[in-house]
């Protein structure tokens, strides 16, 4: 099987990730922070190590400001719902995932409004448009770093500088970029960053985080046992315990630590360069085939390792079905939980065939995909 669905989750996972999860389950097993016996201490150390590695990856931020979550979606919900109040206005883009758009839609009933800034047909945001859609009550910019449909990167540095100038908070959805690109929130004026452990960080599913810059507070969305300040029924105020009630996915975090270590040993820049090189070839060669429509920026160095295409006359799920059934190639068709992004690039409601590569994707696998698409085009009536 040729796996080209890394934007959904990376696969395969490094062997060291699998070993770490297995070792945790076989040899540690205890609940982190819930006792003082040696196994519980070791479990706590696993979680602390993962948090430290994440903090280091993000440019040396304070580890206590990294809240462990089960996913990017949970992190985004915590950020939006923990931060916003009735009367607040949010600026976001037309390329967002439903993990931002659905919480914002839900918050409308609480009197929190938002504006989706239209992006270009390539799916790119003009930073000048941010200023144009400002309102007096605007408090937050919520922006995806890279589209999960086209791979196109948003102008984060410019938007961050603008947010700082205008006194707005900036929340970044890093689902497609954490671990895929160097990403340092403090350098980019990012106040909140949500990210997954199971995509470019090569960890298992069920891991994610929310970074919140020092000095910025959030309301809790759930309360409960934290293993700390148990004498009080009030939720503790200390970070990150305040936001981590309930047992953490410690085996998953053991795996995530090894995933982060693997990414750092290979080098974030080196992985990004590899993905850009093979995606440039894919984009160029698919672009030469009559009957193939490509979406997103042509400048692949302005993208992460994801691109979208369609074959004229076929539904995206038909192309994906053929690739799976006849060629053993795994891609994701449809709307990718990002209907607004597809409306922006002109592929709604049909969707697109999304190809997303990982650090282990080879050029031969990309060539196999190109050959398969050529054969589909030849067979099509």
């Amino acid at each position: 099987m040729i796996y080209l669905d890394n934007a959904a989750t990376s696969f395969p996972k490094p062997e060291r990730v699998i070993t770490a999860i297995s070792r945790y389950c076989r040899e540690i097993g205890a609940n982190p922070g819930r006792a003082s016996h040696r196994l519980a201490r070791e479990a706590s150390a696993v979680v602390a190590r993962t948090r430290r590695l994440l903090a280091h990856l993000l440019g040396g931020v304070d580890p206590s400001r990294i809240i462990i979550t089960p996913s990017t979606t949970v992190a985004l919900n915590l950020a939006l719902k923990g931060l916003l109040h009735a009367g607040d206005h949010v600026l976001t883009s037309s390329m967002e995932h439903n993990s931002v758009l659905r919480p914002l839609h839900h918050l409308e009933r609480l009197g929190i409004t938002h504006t989706r800034i239209p992006c270009s047909p390539e799916g790119l945001l003009d930073p000048a448009d941010v200023r144009r859609h400002l309102r007096p009550e605007t408090r937050l910019i919520a922006l995806v770093h890279a589209s999960n449909v086209t791979g196109g990167l948003m102008p984060l540095a410019e938007v961050g500088a603008l947010a700082r100038e205008l006194g707005l908070l900036l929340l970044v959805d890093g689902a497609q970029t954490v671990g895929a690109l160097p990403l340092e929130p403090e350098r980019l004026s990012i106040d909140l960053l949500a990210g997954p452990g199971h995509k470019s960080l090569l960890g298992p599913m069920g891991t994610g985080f929310l970074y919140v810059r020092p000095g910025l507070d959030l309301e809790t969305l759930w309360e409960g046992g934290t293993g700390s300040h148990s004498e009080s029924t009030a939720q503790p105020g200390s970070w990150p315990d305040r936001f981590e009630s309930g047992t953490l996915n410690a085996p998953g975090l053991a795996g995530l630590a090894e995933g982060i270590a693997e990414v750092q040993e290979r080098g974030v820049d080196a992985i990004a360069a590899h993905k850009t090189r093979i995606m440039e070839r894919l984009y160029q060669e698919l672009g030469l085939l009559p009957g193939v429509a490509l979406y997103g920026p042509a400048r692949r160095h302005e993208c992460v390792g994801t691109l979208s295409f369609n074959v004229t006359g076929l539904a995206s799920n038909e192309v994906a079905h053929i690739l799976d059934t006849a060629y053993g190639i795994a891609v994701r068709p449809g709307l990718h939980c990002a209907p607004a992004a597809h409306q922006t690039i002109g592929s709604f409601p049909k969707g697109t065939v999304r190809v997303s590569v990982g650090p282990y994707t080879t050029e031969d696998e990309i060539l196999a995909l190109i050959t398969a698409v050529e054969q589909i085009l030849r067979y099509r009536r």
């Binding site: 799920n317 038909e318 079905h321 053929i322 589909i376 099509r380 009536r381």
Partner: protein
């Protein structure tokens, strides 16, 4: 010998069948070869009696393409060459008539071997595999991707008048000698607006359509200026066979199904059903039918 008949109904084609049955004194020999005579008990209001009755023949027919076993169809055993070629073209395994090698029939073992220099590996891998949609985005309404790959919206329509439709359906029924004899087959025909050009009958309505499509493929006969007549329901399978065979319109004495009509709308095909007693139901493509 007992001739089975449909229950007579006022203003129905079955009434005509009864009438037609009475005017055919003896079935032709080809029809004899497709029927077997069995002894049955006939129970009527006046009692029970033993009678011989004609039943249509059913055989398993196995189709090979370049020594790959593709499918076993149940059929009457008539026109097996065109049935095999029609099935293979309908399924997208044969596309280029110029690369067809030969069609060998082993009548004793009910096997048809078709050879072609086309590479059918791509289609074979997809044959019969259903597309599973994820619910994320508007997917295809085809359930087999080979159907989608080979079906394109109709570009040239066949204008028809209602009286031509009535005449063609009457003609389809008049030709159905095997049906009158056995009541065990569906009839199918390819027709120009004014006349039937090819008639086939089989126990499977799909087979009858495949025979016609196979005959057209073998003879290089154009289909885009013709319509398909059938006695069977217009289901998605029948409609898709026509779409892939380039036939723009279907006419039936029976009804159409919902999925067939969704596909007909997408493919801009004409569908007329329930052609009985001078009436008809135009399900799709009404703009091409003159009352």
């Amino acid at each position: 010998m007992l001739l089975l008949s449909e229950e007579p109904k006022e203003n129905s084609e079955s009434t005509m069948f009864l009438h037609d049955t009475t005017v055919i004194p003896k079935a032709p020999s080809e029809i004899d070869s497709l029927c077997e005579i069995v002894q049955v008990s006939q129970i009527t209001k006046s009692g029970r009696k033993s009678s011989p009755v004609a039943v249509v023949r059913e055989i398993p027919l196995t189709i090979f393409l370049n020594d790959h076993e593709i499918v076993t169809l149940l059929c009457t055993g008539a026109h097996v060459e065109s049935l095999a070629v029609g099935f293979l073209t309908s399924e997208g395994l044969l596309r280029d008539r110029g690369r067809l090698g030969g069609v060998e029939v082993d009548h004793s073992r009910h096997i048809v071997r078709v050879s072609s220099s086309e590479d059918a590996a791509f289609a074979e891998r997809l044959l019969g595999r259903r597309i599973i949609t994820s619910g994320c985005g508007k997917g295809t309404i085809f359930y087999h991707v080979l159907d989608s790959l080979q079906s394109r919206p109709v570009e040239h329509h066949v204008p028809l008048r209602a009286d031509q439709v009535r005449h063609l359906m009457g003609e389809l029924n008049r030709r159905s000698e095997l049906y009158r004899r056995s009541r065990g087959v569906h009839n199918c025909a390819l027709a120009l607006p004014e006349k039937i050009v090819l008639f086939r009958a089989d126990i499977g309505r799909h087979n009858a359509v495949d025979m016609i499509i196979g005959e057209c493929f073998l003879a290089g006969l154009s289909t885009q200026d013709k319509v398909l007549l059938t006695t069977g329901r217009i289901t998605s399978e029948i409609l898709i066979k026509c779409a892939k065979g380039g036939i723009p319109a279907l006419i039936s004495r029976s009804a159409a199904t919902s999925l067939a009509l969704q596909l007909a709308r997408d493919l801009k095909m004409t569908v007329i059903g329930y052609v009985r007693g001078g009436n008809m139901v135009v399900y799709a493509g009404g703009e091409h039918i003159e009352p």
